[in-house]
């Protein structure tokens, strides 16, 4: 592939071999993971033979067709699926997902905003902090500071029902960011946002990423978003979900917004697009 100096595309199979040697800075590692939804006659293999890893302070995006198993994968990493349905090995900072979750290492933004209807926006954002056991760190920001950063100043006392779709999604986002986790799992967190708000959220996410040690796994449908934010883009195929390609994105950081207009950027995007088309 011509001029792909900053691009490394590796076959899923080949990367499996090399990554068998665990790296010290590894945060998330999936080995030969297979996940089944449902039981008995209804059982459906959602993902199969998935190998993946996320290093410290890395941002890894997952792209793939609707229904290929992205959300399922995130839930598995977060330890939210019943043990019986997950086969293979998943480790988060050297621990099982369950343990990692219990150590408060993981935070997650769900695909559809998950808010408590009986709590105001502000108290939805503080909910995990209120209940986090064994947590001693005080958050860097107050809830209203965090809400201001996601553009929801003045909405603190509203109830979720009184918000627009995008506003609800930003409340979910603010809640996950408040936790300052080691591993942040995001399932299409900016899907309901317009481009400008989305760009603001990107900046906000990168600002947090820069000042902390957070590793991020981001599910997105926007290739531009995936490339702009990530160190690596994982392309998944469907039925069942497998890792089809892993594309390293080596643009130096901090990245400027006009990077998106560069030919390199377009080339990576094209590369991913081709890969996606080949891996329906």
């Amino acid at each position: 592939m011509p001029g792909a100096s900053q691009i490394t595309v590796s076959r899923a199979e080949s990367s499996t071999g090399s990554s068998a040697v665990a790296r010290s800075d590894e945060r998330v590692r999936l080995q030969d993971v297979c996940i089944v939804h449902g039981r008995g006659d209804q059982a459906v293999v959602a993902v199969e033979g998935v190998d993946m890893h996320v290093g410290a302070r890395e941002i890894v995006s997952i792209v793939g067709h609707s229904g290929c198993g992205k959300s399922t994968l995130l839930r598995a990493i977060a330890g939210l699926l019943p043990n019986a349905s997950v086969q293979g090995r998943i480790s988060v900072m050297g621990r099982s997902p369950d343990e990692a979750r219990r150590s408060g290492l993981i935070s997650m933004v769900f695909q559809e905003s998950v808010l408590a209807p009986w709590r105001t926006v502000e108290r939805n954002v503080t909910l995990p902090l209120e209940v986090a056991r064994g947590r001693t760190r005080t958050p860097r920001r107050t809830a209203s500071e965090q809400l201001e950063l996601v553009g929801l100043k003045g909405y603190e006392k509203r109830y979720p029902k009184q918000l627009s779709g995008g506003q609800r999604q930003r409340v979910s986002l603010a809640r996950a960011l408040m936790m300052e986790p080691e591993v942040l799992l995001m399932d299409e967190p900016f899907g309901a946002l317009d481009e400008i708000t989305r760009d603001e959220m990107h900046s906000e996410l990168l600002r947090i990423w820069e000042t902390t040690h957070v590793s991020i796994v981001l599910v997105t449908h926007s290739l531009a978003e995936a490339i702009f934010l990530s160190d690596r883009v994982v392309v998944m195929s469907s039925h069942p979900g497998r890792v089809a390609d892993t594309i390293e994105v080596d643009f130096p950081r901090p990245r400027r917004t006009d990077l998106k207009d560069s030919p390199e950027f377009s080339r990576i995007a094209h590369r991913i697009r081709v890969s996606l088309e080949h891996n329906r």
Partner: protein, 279 residues
């Protein structure tokens, strides 16, 4: 670099089905145990009861031993089973009417706040009104037949059904109602296709209260004036100070309640499979 020649059909393939190893299925013995364990616990309770009565020498006129009760039942099996049948029928009648009337009233309440406001005081009155106070009225109005008994049963069973179903009918997804309205669906269609399915888990939940309630109501009805049924037999044997028989009859009443209850729970699993219990 990519997997070669992956099929590029425009339509996604149907999902792959997984094979679950048979080991994951519960063994037959385990399943038998699961089905019977609540009866096992009840059985142990009975044994414990017998032991307590014998060890502490509790007098039979206070708390008869299960063995005495079994003897009493054996002596009067025909009579008691006839009572059981009657009470079961009366409870079923009361429950059936409560189901129909409760759902109907709940629908009216879900349609109109005014109706709710006007009807609740009356319902409260009929619910709280002590049967002894209105017993002569009930018998004089409805005759010396099954009707007053069914009415008593109905009055207790209707309340939980009404309240829970009204709750279920009004806590539907507003947007789903909007989808229906956009299709120019009639209120009846919205009721049938959105509100009622949404209220079904609430209905079945209410059965857990209404089913034993219907039995209690039938018993009360039989106390005030009947010639058959467990409630009537209880008054007769109680006047004869036959505590063992009274307890057998009371437990037969409970049996009706438990069977009713379990039928409802079983129906619930079949009728509302989409309700997931989050523990």
């Amino acid at each position: 670099m990519t997997t070669a020649a992956a099929p590029t059909t425009s339509v996604a393939e149907p999902p792959v089905r997984a094979e679950i190893p048979p080991a994951a299925r519960a063994g037959l013995l385990l399943r038998v145990f699961r089905i019977t364990r609540s009866w096992l616990v009840l059985g142990s309770a009975v044994v414990l009861w017998q032991v307590v009565v014998e060890v502490f020498g509790i007098a039979p006129y206070i708390l008869p031993a299960p063995s005495e009760m079994i003897a009493s039942f054996a002596d009067n099996a025909g009579l008691f089973l006839d009572g059981l049948l009657m009470t079961t029928l009366m409870s079923l009648g009361g429950f059936g009417v409560a189901l129909v009337v409760g759902v109907a009233l709940a629908v009216l309440m879900a349609r109109s706040a005014l109706f709710e406001e006007l009807v609740y005081p009356f319902l409260n009155i009929v619910r709280v009104m002590p049967t002894v106070a209105v017993a002569p009225l009930l018998i004089i109005w409805f005759g010396r037949n099954a009707l007053p008994i069914i009415i008593c049963s109905f009055l207790i069973a209707v309340f939980p059904i009404l309240v829970d179903v009204a709750h279920g009918l009004t806590s539907v997804d507003e947007d789903l109602v909007s989808v229906m309205k956009l299709a120019n669906a009639s209120e009846l269609s919205i009721l049938l296709h959105v509100r009622i399915p949404n209220a079904l888990p609430y209905l079945f939940s209410s059965f857990r209260v209404a089913a034993p309630g219907a039995v209690v109501g039938a018993l009360l009805g039989e106390f005030i004036g009947a010639r058959r049924g467990l409630g009537y037999l209880i008054t007769v044997y109680s006047a004869q100070l036959n505590t063992a028989a009274v307890f057998v009859l009371a437990l037969l009443s409970c049996l009706v309640g438990i069977v009713f209850f379990n039928v409802c729970v079983w129906l619930e699993r079949i009728v509302v499979p989409w309700r997931t219990v989050v523990r």
